[in-house]
């Protein structure tokens, strides 16, 4: 059974949650292709996301930063020097003995680090202009520029001219445009790729979201239909124990919680994993040490985010609780305002309100504190990671272990890396509440449905009802009905009278199989009702309850319910027969008149007439009626009595009677007291007996009759 104190945060065992997850995944099965597709697309979007900062890095390293450095061998380490000379023969441009310009973009990282560490490399970087690959026409132009700045182009090796980074600024940009044409076109190319990735990423992202939401919504649809259908087939006893509000939550909010898990945790979580893994791979390739240093921050970030989430959630819940309390108080005060004013309790009430309002304020302030402390804390960690990258990453740029573009890429990746880590706690929360929700849903779905009987049907039902030594209790041995036996012949009108709680309602509920009795037998035309098909059984019986439930819709839909085989004509005829026609005709819209939630706009009497009409339209062989007790004005009262007589005509009927006229007109009266039938007979017979019925009559019907004198 679902417990009241079943809270969201209840910890689920690992094996148990695994079982739940497995059961949840069953719902995915129908849409596995869509999910697979979404997953693949997600993988692509992660790759695209990671590639963007890398392209920026390439642009910086390949196009922006001058790549040549001066290299001067000292001869101290001939072995090393010779190996470098051999390996980078093509990219070494000699200026004089053991003094070269080297294109660093062609040098392996380890060698760069070595060269730098050994002090062979100049700090300054140079731009190299290669004339050998230019057309004659261009060559002329470039040469003209070179001649224009004689003091800058001092160093030359064959067809290659070199300019130091400092000196680049001294050249006019129109001249640089020519000199660095290669860099510019490379930049354009990289931007084109960047742009294409953006476009691709846009479509992939949309496709991913759409696919995910579509399949998620479909799953929720299936789940809801399953829950709802299951609910409708549960026995009435289940509804006695579970408040409707909670059951509604299963089909609505709990399903939403599960949906959130499907859409944000399952696939988006996968994207985070891809993203993190991808970023780590790229970072490691750029610089493993720095990556490791950077990774030190992740557990801290994850931990603090986690603590924050837990605290924030707790604080949020407290705020919600206080707000609910405040709202409940406000609502109650508004509905009870007249009492408050008449009893001059405005001051006390305001004090109470202020107290609750202040509690709410304090809860909000606590929530605020949690946010005000943790949010900045998380930002400090983020900023510290950036500082670390600038310091340690920068130092590695100095030692040539990292390129400048690499450094900026690191900065971007750090940002990208922390986002999913910060979200982990939230995802975990979602997962947890989805698990709790799904557990509640599955518990509901595991509830046993009501027994639908053995499928027997009776052709030409007469309507004879027999109770044979029926014993019934709602729970354990607290018998509500004890050894109840009686027979109702076809067409007979039987009134049940007795104190509230005596067992009258139980008798009629058992006939409808709303509950299962423990001992004895109930027969319909001699057939055990448990052998009958449940739908068949119920469709033979018309039910009119004390407080008629009206569905929102219109008058028509309240008479025929969902049974489209009841034609308008049949429905009109029924309404005329039961006198409901009279008041319906007066309604704006008549039979199409709107019935709002619970039909609050209709009087007790009108509701009862509608219930009669509903029962009559379904034309059952047997009628079960629980008379309304409420005071009804005598005009309507007359109509109801007349209507009732017509309704009962030719049907076997079992009536829980509150009206004197009903009791008097009954063919037989069953006096129910403390679960037993203590007397049985006609009104006159029983009165003459001067037994329990006589006592009841004095007590119950006399005052009722007198109160009808209001007119």
């Amino acid at each position: 059974m679902m417990e009241d104190d079943y809270l969201e945060e209840k910890k689920l065992g690992a094996i148990y949650s695994f079982k739940l997850l497995k059961r949840l995944l069953k719902y995915v099965k129908r849409y596995k292709f869509l999910f697979l597709l979404a997953t693949i697309i997600t993988l692509f979007t992660a790759i695209l996301d990671i590639s963007l900062p890398y392209i920026t890095k390439m642009a910086i390293d390949q196009c922006l930063v001058p790549s040549y450095a001066e290299l001067e061998f000292s001869g101290k380490n001939a072995l090393f020097e010779n190996s470098i000379k051999r390996r980078y023969k093509e990219y070494l441009h000699p200026l004089k003995e053991d003094f070269y310009f080297i294109d660093l973009s062609r040098v392996r990282k380890e060698d760069k680090v070595d060269l730098e560490a050994k002090g062979y490399l100049s700090k300054e970087r140079f731009l190299g202009i290669d004339l050998s690959k230019l057309t004659d026409e261009k060559k002329e132009k470039v040469l003209a520029i070179i001649r224009k700045y004689p003091s800058i182009f001092t160093q030359k090796s064959g067809q290659l001219f070199f300019i130091s980074s400092e000196n680049i600024k001294k050249i006019e940009s129109s001249d640089l445009r020519l000199l660095r044409e290669k860099d510019l076109s490379r930049l354009k190319f990289l931007c084109l790729i960047f742009f294409s990735i953006l476009i691709l990423s846009f479509f992939f992202n949309f496709a991913q979201i759409y696919l995910l939401q579509y399949s998620g919504q479909r799953i929720m649809y299936d789940m809801r239909v399953q829950i709802f259908s299951h609910l409708l087939l549960l026995p009435i006893s289940f509804f006695d124990k579970n408040p409707i509000g909670r059951l509604v939550t299963r089909a609505t909010n709990d399903v939403e919680a599960v949906n959130e898990m499907y859409t944000t945790v399952l696939v988006a979580g996968l994207k985070d994993v891809f993203l993190l893994a991808g970023i780590l791979v790229v970072m490691f390739r750029m610089n493993p040490e720095l990556t490791l240093l950077f990774l030190l921050f992740s557990p801290l970030m994850a931990y603090i985010s986690f603590v924050f989430r837990v605290k924030a959630r707790k604080a949020f819940r407290e705020v919600r609780r206080k707000l609910a309390k405040l709202n409940a108080f406000t609502a109650e005060s508004i509905s009870g305002m007249r009492i408050i004013q008449l009893f001059t309790q405005e001051k006390t009430n305001l004090e109470n309100f202020k107290r609750i309002n202040h509690e709410k304020y304090m809860a909000s302030m606590h929530q605020l504190l949690v946010f005000a402390i943790f949010r900045p804390l998380i930002e400090i960690i983020g900023a510290s990671a950036l500082a670390l990258i600038i310091w340690q990453g920068g130092s590695r740029v100095i030692t040539e272990a990292l390129t400048l573009g690499g450094l900026t890429a690191f900065l971007s990746y750090a940002e990208m890396f922390f986002r999913p880590i910060r979200d982990i706690a939230e995802k975990f929360n979602i997962l947890q509440s989805a698990m709790a929700s799904s557990e509640r849903i599955f518990q509901l779905l595991d509830q046993k449905r009501e027994d639908r009987g053995k499928g027997k049907k009776i052709a030409n039902l007469k309507g004879k009802i027999e109770f044979q030594n029926v014993w019934f209790s709602y729970k354990d041995e607290e018998w509500v009905l004890k050894d109840v036996s009686f027979t109702v012949m076809p067409g007979e009108k039987v009134a049940l009278v007795g104190h509230t709680g005596g067992g009258k309602t139980s008798i009629i509920s058992l006939l409808l199989r709303f509950y299962e009795f423990q001992k004895g037998k109930i027969l319909l035309d001699g057939v055990d009702i448990r052998d009958l098909d449940l739908s068949f059984l119920r469709s033979q019986i018309g039910l009119v309850l004390q407080d008629t439930f009206l569905f929102s819709g219109d008058i028509k839909s309240n008479i025929r319910l969902r049974n489209s085989s009841i034609s308008d004509e049949k429905l009109w005829e029924a309404a005329r027969h039961t006198n409901a026609h009279i008041f319906i005709e007066r309604l704006p819209g008549k039979y199409e008149a709107e019935v709002r939630e619970r039909g609050a706009e209709f009087s007790q009497g009108q509701r009862q007439l509608l219930a009669f009409t509903r029962a009559l339209a379904f034309d059952p062989k047997i009628l079960i009626l629980d008379e309304a007790t409420a005071n009804i004005d005598s005009e309507t009262e007359l109509l109801i009595q007349q209507s009732l007589k017509r309704l009962l005509l030719g049907r076997t009927s079992l009536i829980i009677a509150h009206r004197l006229s009903t009791v008097r007109d009954a063919d037989k009266i069953l006096v129910v007291h403390k679960g037993r039938i203590v007397e049985m007979g006609t009104h006159q017979e029983l009165l003459r007996k001067k037994g329990y019925y006589h006592y009841l009559y004095k007590l119950q019907f006399k005052p009722f009759a007198t109160s009808k004198m209001n007119r």
Partner: protein, 590 residues
């Protein structure tokens, strides 16, 4: 008032509310200013670091220094972030509390006409949603407007100082972005509301089916209900997908536009870097500033929305706050010691907004200590007599007197304290039975509560509950019957020891014998005090000193039981019916 005037008034009200807390807000705003400052310095540090690295002039020490600056800056920012949150959001919480108290205490002064006009749900919405909207405007509205303005101006300034032409190139997508954000935002909001509406349809559909489960099962309508549910469920699905279609584009589109600006920076900025016009550090800093610019762009639309909603909500709240209580103490009230003589002098009364008079030319004197019985049809004006006496509605001046004083001149609290009234619908609060009985007289002793409960013939029933007097009225499982509620409401009235006790059909759900016992008990308690009993049942009034019969707003018959019987009018007819039933009973006994 015309529309723009009304809007201006609303905004004025909102800002004057904000102005009340200016000191705390200014501290918060200063903090924001500094936080934003640190945010703007950060790119400058990174720029320097990148530039000296590019020029090969960097050393480990310099970099360590920069890193230290960054951390120090972050610490300062963090501390001030705490400050602004505390002062700005904290203040909004204060405003919320203040406004709610003010609204509630004002609502308590309003009269029945007001509560008849406004629905509870409406009033609740003011107290919750509208106050929340005002709070958001005061917190996030104030924060965003300052924060985004500072960030916008300074980051734009910083970008221009790096490169004006680059700023121009990159700024191209921004107006598009802002436009898209507004358009999409509105669309998404609309569709989201539809989803919400569909969700409540769904909830309502399940709730209703489960509430009517007995009918559904009895009439074998399960299949039809499931089909109907599928329809509603499908509606929800469709509304959701309609939202996804547009919201699903929104995020990727934002990313695309954000990426596009980066692409433009790389393209144009990179070009400038190649041509030596900007440094690489400039580019990095530029990109960071660009990132900062995104937030104000998004926030401005949001801010406008926040303020608009806040102002509209403020208007709605003010409408209530400015509602004058209709029933209140007149300027010169008289302090009297109530003895209980009630006099209706040619009183006619029409409910506000209604055409027909509810009472016509009522003349009636009730002497102190007298018991008055009122009978009559529903709608004949019985309750109206009482409503006017309690000043639920005000009678016309000079028509209704208590101890010779026009009740409009008696202090309202004095008047109401002297009257104990048990209304038709017994409204109990969801507290304990004890608190409900002691409601009008909170300092009352345990013995008095028990005594009152005994008089009302409810004590033994209360004692049958496991928690006794502490039984919670509203708790699930213990629901009181109508008769029990009525008797508790009666106990609540008599415990105040009122000079005048009024039972407005207050025992209709109590069985006849118990009612008789209660009335007998009351006779002792109310000795020498005025009491008025309205009832449907003759037994309840036949012992009264004076009985009046109301019909269509008039007193049509009055006198003692015997006198009225002799009149042979309506009262006599009622009585005949009763007799008839007695006779019938006798007859059947034979």
């Amino acid at each position: 008032m015309n529309k723009s005037n009304k809007k201006r008034e609303e905004f004025k009200a909102l800002f004057s509310l904000i102005w009340r807390y200016k000191h705390r807000l200014i501290i918060g705003l200063l903090a924001i200013f500094v936080v934003d400052g640190t945010q703007l310095i950060l790119p400058l540090i990174i720029r320097r670091a990148v530039d000296i690295l590019a020029l090969g002039k960097a050393t480990g020490l310099i970099l360590a220094k920069y890193a230290f600056y960054m951390v120090a800056l972050a610490l300062v920012a963090a501390a001030l972030r705490f400050v602004w949150r505390y002062f700005i959001i904290g203040t909004s919480r204060k405003i919320e509390e203040y406004l709610r108290n003010k609204l509630f205490s004002h609502v308590q002064t309003l009269s029945a006409t007001f509560f008849g006009r406004i629905r509870t749900g409406d009033l609740m919405a003011r107290a919750t949603n509208d106050i929340e909207a005002v709070r958001r405007a005061t917190a996030m509205g104030v924060f965003i407007s300052v924060d985004s303005l500072i960030l916008l101006i300074f980051s734009l300034g910083a970008m221009i100082s790096i490169s004006t032409s680059l700023t121009l190139y990159v700024a191209v997508p921004f107006p598009i972005l802002a436009l898209l954000l507004t358009i999409f935002g509105r669309r998404i909001h609309q569709r989201f509301e539809k989803v919400q509406a569909a969700f409540s349809d769904l909830t309502e559909s399940v709730r209703e089916s489960l509430s009517g489960i007995r009918e559904i099962k009895a009439f074998v309508q399960e299949r039809g209900e499931i089909d109907n549910f599928k329809r509603v469920n499908d509606g929800f699905f469709r509304k959701n997908m309609a939202l996804v279609k547009i919201w699903g584009i929104f995020d990727p589109l934002l990313m695309l536009l954000g990426g596009l600006t980066t692409a433009l920076v790389i393209l144009f900025g990179g070009r400038k870097a190649i041509l030596g016009e900007v440094s690489i550090g400039d580019l990095v800093a530029f990109t960071m500033y660009l990132g900062m610019l995104t937030w104000p762009m998004m926030a401005i639309g949001w801010m406008v929305n926040l303020f608009q909603r806040g102002a509209a909500s403020m208007g709605r709240i003010n409408k209530i706050l400015l509602t004058e209580p209709e029933i209140k103490d007149e300027k010169d009230t008289l302090e009297i010691k109530v003895r209980g003589k009630i006099e209706y002098r040619n009183l006619s009364f029409t409910y506000p907004g209604e055409r027909d008079a509810a009472l016509k030319n009522i003349n009636l004197v009730i002497q102190p200590g007298m018991r008055l019985g009122i009978v009559g049809r529903i709608g004949s004006g019985k309750s109206t007599l009482i409503h006017l006496l309690c000043r639920v509605f005000d009678p016309p001046a000079g028509t209704l007197f208590l101890d010779g004083v026009d009740i409009r001149q008696i202090r309202l609290s004095t008047l109401r304290k002297s009257i104990g009234v048990v209304p038709q619908e017994s409204f109990l609060f969801s507290t304990s039975i004890r608190e409900n009985i002691a409601f009008g007289n909170p300092g009352v002793s345990e013995e008095e509560i028990i005594e009152a409960a005994k008089i009302c013939e409810i004590y033994s029933e209360i004692m049958e509950f496991p928690a006794g007097l502490d039984t919670l009225v509203g708790e699930r499982g213990v629901s009181l019957s109508g008769g029990q509620k009525q008797r508790i409401a009666l106990a609540r009235a008599i415990i105040r020891n009122p000079e005048i006790l009024i039972l407005d059909d207050a025992l209709s759900s109590v069985d006849a014998q118990t009612e008789e016992r209660i009335l007998k008990n009351l006779r002792k308690v109310m000795k020498n005090r005025t009491s008025i009993v309205i009832s449907h049942r003759i037994v309840a009034v036949e012992n009264c000193d004076l009985i009046i019969v109301m019909d269509e707003g008039r007193i049509v018959e009055q006198g003692s039981h015997e006198e009225l019987l002799n009149l042979n009018g309506i009262y006599a007819t009622f009585y005949q019916e009763q007799k008839l039933l007695e006779y019938e009973k006798e007859h059947l006994k034979i």
